[in-house]
Subunit: 190 residues, 2 copies
Amino acid sequence: MSGIRVYLAGPEVFLPDCAQVQQAKRDMCAEYGLIAVVPGDADVADFPTPHEKGLAISARDETLMDGSDAVIANLTPFRGVGADPGTCYELGYMTAQGKPAFGYSNLGQDHRGRIADYYGGRVQADQMGQLRGEDGLAVEDFHMIDNLMLQGGIERRGGAVVSGDVPKRSRFTDLTVFAQILKIAAKKLL
Amino acid sequence: MSGIRVYLAGPEVFLPDCAQVQQAKRDMCAEYGLIAVVPGDADVADFPTPHEKGLAISARDETLMDGSDAVIANLTPFRGVGADPGTCYELGYMTAQGKPAFGYSNLGQDHRGRIADYYGGRVQADQMGQLRGEDGLAVEDFHMIDNLMLQGGIERRGGAVVSGDVPKRSRFTDLTVFAQILKIAAKKLL
């Protein structure tokens, strides 16, 4: 056992079968001798208000990240064109600590393509050559899977990003692409 | 002059009038003696590929964050139900460094309300009492403006979150709510 702890950030915490998916990821990590750390590791007690409970979960997850050596983030678009905001926060939290980071998406389409779809294809270059939606907002086109801060933060630290299409109904449960990034991460970390 | 540098994270980098909005924010910070640091501070040279340019912008913005003392993040929902992924990354990047963080949204509606709208109101509690959309994904209900990691990371470090409604057409340019959070931030930081 290497004892290397990998925090598994991702929106699977919102799944009805969260525990099974997390366990499957744990088992896959264990095959490489990596210890998976997942946001659902410890039970959080009840609190007088939902707000206080939210703060307690935030504290717990940050503590889990502080105790982890690397992160693999599931950046699959969540309820819209971009990655889950909580996962993005966690990715930045880990890279700021200088920890190796890896990311994957269960959607093969890149950031630019998804945003163009969001605008129904109505995107065009302005006078400066900057691609924009009809609301005037710039369309990022850096050949990345999401906002450049995410993929940039990963790749600039020697990490990698992998994406690929899985059936839509298993968008958040399919572990094919996760297996690919895990193999890459294990090679780097071990 | 206090010399305190505040990084202004937010999706205004995508605005056609980005420079004017950032300058207005700079001026407002200066009135408190705070030095605004914005993602567009320095020009990034051209690179052989868009991907390399993306990495260069990522490096520059992280350097700007490393040199800042606090962050005010514009968490206004961006192209969907949640905050801009790049802004979320930057918020986590700053809190991981133990820096004071503040957030605001130009949409008063809370996270739960927006997600319920996303599902067309079709959300209901499962057998455990957990609110879920028709796709089975859990609906966070912690009385926060977005994912608990964002607001939790801010509030647990003594920061604050403010939200309020502005006219839709000025969703990303109106600085009324920014003025409110800036006042709170200045009081804490100075």
